[in-house]
């Protein structure tokens, strides 16, 4: 199977700021992204857990986005302008994808 190089951008972001990250990604022209739930974690502000929570205030989400290598930098810049003020984490890594036309 022929594969193509692409970038996987993963953004761990506070749920209340998710709407802004989504808008930034869409404006940066990504072809798609997916959101994975996160159920708890630990960081400088201590531990949190989504269990029993009515408020989304301490929740995080993971945005999982496959982009063509050429676009990756522009997308990261766009996202970072939102994430900068939040506690979110932006990671980029290499991957191979099977269909190039999708990214």
């Amino acid at each position: 199977m022929e594969t193509h190089r692409a970038k996987r951008i993963e953004i761990m972001i506070e749920t209340p700021a998710l709407r802004r990250v989504r808008r930034a990604l869409e404006q940066a022209g990504v072809r798609g992204y997916s959101i994975l739930p996160v159920q708890g974690g630990y960081g400088r502000t201590g531990s949190w857990s989504g269990e029993g929570e009515v408020s989304i205030a301490s929740n995080m989400d993971l945005v999982w986005c496959i982009v063509a290598e050429a676009r990756a930098e522009a997308v990261v810049d766009a996202v970072f302008s939102v994430v900068d003020r939040q506690i979110g984490i932006v990671t980029i890594s290499d991957c191979e994808v099977v269909r190039r036309d999708r990214f």
Partner: protein, 324 residues
């Protein structure tokens, strides 16, 4: 006096307060008891819908009391101004920096709907009625405090706020649900309510028990995680502020002519601190503020205080003011 103690005892031994205590103890003891997130959200949706509906049905039944306009206005004013008082008290009592103080202050101008429900449950068990439209007042009190908090934070800190979280505020789900259910109740009236009371009335108090069990678990977990932030000055604030806010709310209610029950409810709303709408807005608008501080204070200190003692006191204040 003995009547006061009886009232306090009755409240403390109610299933809902004990359910909260169970959750609190379980979480502090690090039990692995947890309520699934979807269930907690579901219980909250149920409660909001049920109390909105009941308020609306009440209004349909009794007609609009003349003071509803005044009541809504009072709600907005209280929500807008209580954070100023809270900010002042915080700066006096604790060494919290301005941005965190502003964030905390915003929570105390807004309201906690489950404290409202606990108060209505107490009123009901002692046979005191209240104006149904106070549900709408609760809804209008949720958001204005956020703006005051952001203004306070902006004064302290010129750069880098996240901009006004207008969307986050104006279409907050819990406000929409409360107002929407209120309007539905108003439209369908007692006849419509009769069709659905098998779900929205009969099991209400039991469902509230499970919700308070969950609140106890969340509060206990918050306390364990945030305890190191709770210096004595902050704890003092978390207990003093609801008393002062409650008194201001009670006097306001009395001035605008509410019934005894209504005064107790407005006092409770003023005394309570938000744990849903405000923290989420703060996370976007004031990301520099530490959530462990405002969540622990609102949920770990003020909520339990109000549940265990506050609502009894606000009812006593209301009786004393109105002679009811």
């Amino acid at each position: 006096m003995s009547e006061t103690l009886a009232l306090a005892g009755q409240n403390l031994l109610s299933p809902i307060v004990l359910a909260f205590a169970l959750g609190l103890v379980a979480a502090l003891a690090r039990s692995d008891l947890t309520i699934p997130e979807a269930m907690a959200k579901g219980l909250s949706i149920y409660l909001l819908f049920a109390i909105g509906l009941k308020g609306g049905v009440e209004v349909a039944a009794t007609g609009l009391n003349a003071s509803i306009g005044l009541g809504l206005l009072a709600g907005v004013v209280l929500s807008t101004t209580l954070p100023l008082l809270a900010y002042l008290l915080l700066r006096l009592l604790s060494r919290l920096d301005p941005v965190n103080a502003a964030a905390v202050a915003g929570h105390y101008g807004s309201i906690s709907i489950v404290t409202f429900v606990a108060a209505t449950s107490l009123l009901q068990s002692v046979g005191v009625s209240f104006e149904g439209w106070l549900v709408a007042v609760a809804a209008v009190m949720e958001a204005p405090a956020i703006l005051t908090a952001l203004w306070l934070a902006g004064r302290a800190n010129n750069n880098g706020n996240g901009g006004m979280p207008w969307r986050e505020i104006s279409l907050n789900g819990s406000i929409v649900l409360l107002i929407g259910a209120f309007l539905i109740g108003w439209a369908v009236g007692p006849a419509g309510m009769a069709e659905v009371e098998g779900f929205f009335t009969i099991p209400f108090k039991g469902i509230l028990c499970l919700f308070l069990l969950d609140m106890g678990l969340v509060a206990g977990r918050g306390l364990r995680n945030g305890a190191r932030h709770l210096r004595p000055g902050l704890i003092g604030f978390g207990i003093l502020m609801p008393l002062v806010g409650g008194l201001i709310g009670a006097v306001t209610g009395w001035l605008i002519g509410l019934s005894t029950g209504g005064v107790a409810i407005l006092a409770t709303l003023s005394a309570s601190a938000s744990y849903i709408a405000v923290p989420a807005a703060m996370r976007v608008a004031l990301p520099q503020a530490n959530p462990a501080i405002y969540l622990t204070l609102a949920l770990g200190v003020t909520f339990p205080f109000n549940l265990a003692f506050g609502i009894t006191l606000y009812l006593l204040m209301a009786r004393w003011l109105t002679g009811g």
